[in-house]
């Protein structure tokens, strides 16, 4: 039973991943990722990580992906087909596209060898024993206890990180009023987001573009 569920969920995971990479329209890629995340949650459930699965669905698929959906709807951006991406001309040498795929394949092979071919005995097993209960492995109470005792520092740092990210997001999305909006002549560079013009970046010095 669990094997069947595993294969279905694994198929969903891999299909979603492939979809993210291959699909031309970015919106479709987002949807593929959502599918991937939900399948991954099922895999987590199979691994007795109930809380993590719930967090995955609620936070990742529920909040982060919603954010993505909004941004993709707003920004959009062109997609490009995989054929064009792999063989077509472009700014970057086309070798990179094919080369990228090959590199990815190489990484995959290595990881598989590392994870599966190294003779780790425990990997061949089904994991440690499991006894169901209110505070056993995988339950929210279990995770909560761990978070607040052994991993307190990680917990606090993670919350700090979230704060920083929130502040950063507000700063980045801010509309700047005044002169900056007024003279939109010429090409602005991403560096302008972080540093005003004329502070002497290398690009300024070399190319003379201020």
């Amino acid at each position: 039973m669990s094997a069947v569920l595993f294969f279905i969920a694994a198929a969903g995971v891999i299909a979603g991943a492939v979809g993210v990479v291959v699909l031309r329209n970015p919106f479709y890629s987002v949807l593929a990722l959502v599918c991937h995340l939900v399948s991954l949650a099922v895999l987590f459930l199979l691994l007795r990580a109930e809380f993590v699965a719930a967090v995955q669905v609620v936070v990742y698929a529920g909040a982060v992906m919603v954010l993505y959906v909004f941004v993709v709807a707003y920004v959009g951006g062109e997609g490009d087909s995989i054929g064009e991406r792999l063989h077509g001309p472009g700014r970057v040498a086309s070798g990179l596209r094919l080369g990228g795929a090959i590199l990815g394949g190489a990484v995959l092979v290595e990881l598989l060898i590392a994870l599966l071919g190294t003779g780790l005995k425990a990997v061949e097993g089904y994991g440690a024993g499991y006894a169901p209960g209110p505070k056993t492995y995988g339950t929210p109470a279990y995770i909560g206890q761990l978070l607040l005792t052994r991993f307190l520092l990680a917990f606090e740092l993670a919350s700090f990180l979230l704060l920083i990210a929130a502040v950063g997001g507000v700063v980045l999305a801010r509309r700047r009023g005044g002169l900056e909006e007024a003279d939109e002549t010429g090409a602005l560079t991403p560096l302008d987001l972080l540093r005003p013009r004329g502070t002497g970046t290398t690009a300024e010095g070399v190319g003379g573009r201020t």
């Binding site: 987002v30 987590f44 993505y68 995959l108 990997v123 995770i143 929130a166």
Partner: protein
């Protein structure tokens, strides 16, 4: 299924994410592929946690998810700001940081 299977899936997902990062031109999709790689890592963590029988892997998976959320927030904020400046949304066009 033995833990090995889960690890295999995790490796495949990670590699697919890496290929996507190297291959796609739309920065939004690049970020999505980055998420893929993170998720691959998450799966491996949870699988190993099941193997050992303690919850360390799961905690780390939660923290990774937190970090992913922060990163998405910042990354999407940058892309929105780039879009607002009317710059092309294409990683090949955005290359000011060149030597």
């Amino acid at each position: 299924m033995t833990i090995a299977w889960y690890l295999a899936v995790s490796a495949i997902v990670f590699a697919l994410g890496a290929v996507g990062v190297m291959t796609r031109r739309n920065p939004l999709v690049v970020l999505l592929c980055l998420e893929l790689m993170l998720n691959g890592g998450n799966l491996a963590l949870v699988a190993f946690a099941r193997m050992w029988g303690n919850g360390d892997g799961q905690i780390l998976a939660i923290v990774v998810m937190t970090v992913a959320a922060c990163e998405v927030c910042i990354g999407l904020g940058m892309i929105v700001a780039i879009y607002r400046r009317q710059l092309p949304i294409d990683v090949d066009e955005l290359r000011e940081l060149q030597g």
